[in-house]
């Protein structure tokens, strides 16, 4: 291949990789609404939901950003009425990772006091998305599930 063409191919490779990286980054930390996911209290080792909205953080030992996110969420819960923060270590509980479809850490669930996952955030949460999701979850009316 002509060297100039090869250089062009390199640039194309660089461009494609950059686009992939930007897409990945833009999808990190946004909240989404999962369908029909519910967390069992037993998995948390609690007997009752600690607040109207619980920020459940899935972490692993080797997740470098998890401690920082835990501090951030802990602070948010401390200063927000009706909000609690809990952390679940998936390191030795791969069955929990499968049950709740966690493929990266941190992953954060916004749970109501029935354990229903209202929103989930995969990756380090973006502050605006987190705030909006928490506000919306706290404001939502309680729904009576007859299940």
């Amino acid at each position: 291949m002509d060297p100039l063409l090869a250089l062009g191919a390199l640039l194309a490779l660089l461009a494609v990789s950059t686009i992939v990286g930007l897409i990945w980054r833009s999808r990190q930390g946004r909240s989404s609404a999962p369908a029909g996911l519910r967390v069992a209290l037993a998995d948390l080792g609690e007997t009752a939901w600690p607040a109207r909205v619980t920020l459940l953080q899935f972490s692993t030992e080797w997740c470098s950003r998890c401690p920082g996110v835990a501090r951030q969420l802990g602070r948010l819960a401390a200063e927000t009425e009706g909000l609690a923060h809990r952390e679940l270590d998936l390191t030795r509980a791969p069955e929990l990772a499968e049950r709740y479809r966690v493929s990266q850490t941190p992953t954060i669930f916004l749970l109501d006091d029935y354990g229903i996952v209202r929103r989930r955030i995969d990756g380090v949460p973006r502050p605006e998305h987190l705030r909006a999701a928490v506000t919306e979850a706290l404001r939502s009316p309680h729904v009576d599930y007859s299940i």
Partner: protein, 155 residues
């Protein structure tokens, strides 16, 4: 939750990213050499990169030569890291790099010279994403493999 019961001490997460940046550039060179027809040079360089991946995978990322360069030249000039990270996933990422480049080297030795730039391009994407965006492909695969019980984290 913040204590890591691993037997290996946490590392500065910028070290592996620095190594990934060097690796990414060298992988681009391999792609270029392969595309312009310098097959022997491309294969040779890819083999060197595969050997470096093997070093990182089996000796651990902490003992990688790029890490030594980072620690002696760059880190003294930088503020301490905001957070440290467990060395296991980046070391596993080196294993992923070894597999990809190793396949390229093997196929190249068997005469499939197109495999060399292709493998280098694939490895480049992973190294580039890690260096430029902090994305750790190996870390993501690590969790998926733990979920599939293929890896058990050391108790």
């Amino acid at each position: 939750m913040s204590t890591i019961p691993s037997s290996r001490s946490p590392i500065d997460p910028r070290g592996p990213r620095f190594g990934a940046a060097i690796t990414a550039v060298l992988l681009l060179v391999v792609v270029f050499l392969g595309l312009v027809g310098a097959q022997a040079a491309a294969l040779g360089l890819l083999a060197v990169l595969a050997a470096l991946f093997a070093w990182g995978a089996f000796a651990g990322i902490e003992r990688h030569p790029y890490g030594a360069i980072y620690r002696s030249l760059l880190r003294p000039r930088l503020a301490p890291p905001a957070e440290t990270e467990d060395p296991r996933p980046p070391s596993f990422a080196q294993l992923v790099g070894l597999i990809v480049t190793g396949v390229g080297v093997l196929l190249g030795l068997l005469g499939v010279s197109a495999a060399v730039p292709i493998a280098a391009a694939a490895a480049f994407v992973a190294a580039f994403l890690n260096a430029a965006f902090g994305y750790c492909l190996g870390c993501q695969i690590y969790l998926v493999l733990v979920r599939a019980r293929i890896i058990r984290p050391a108790a």
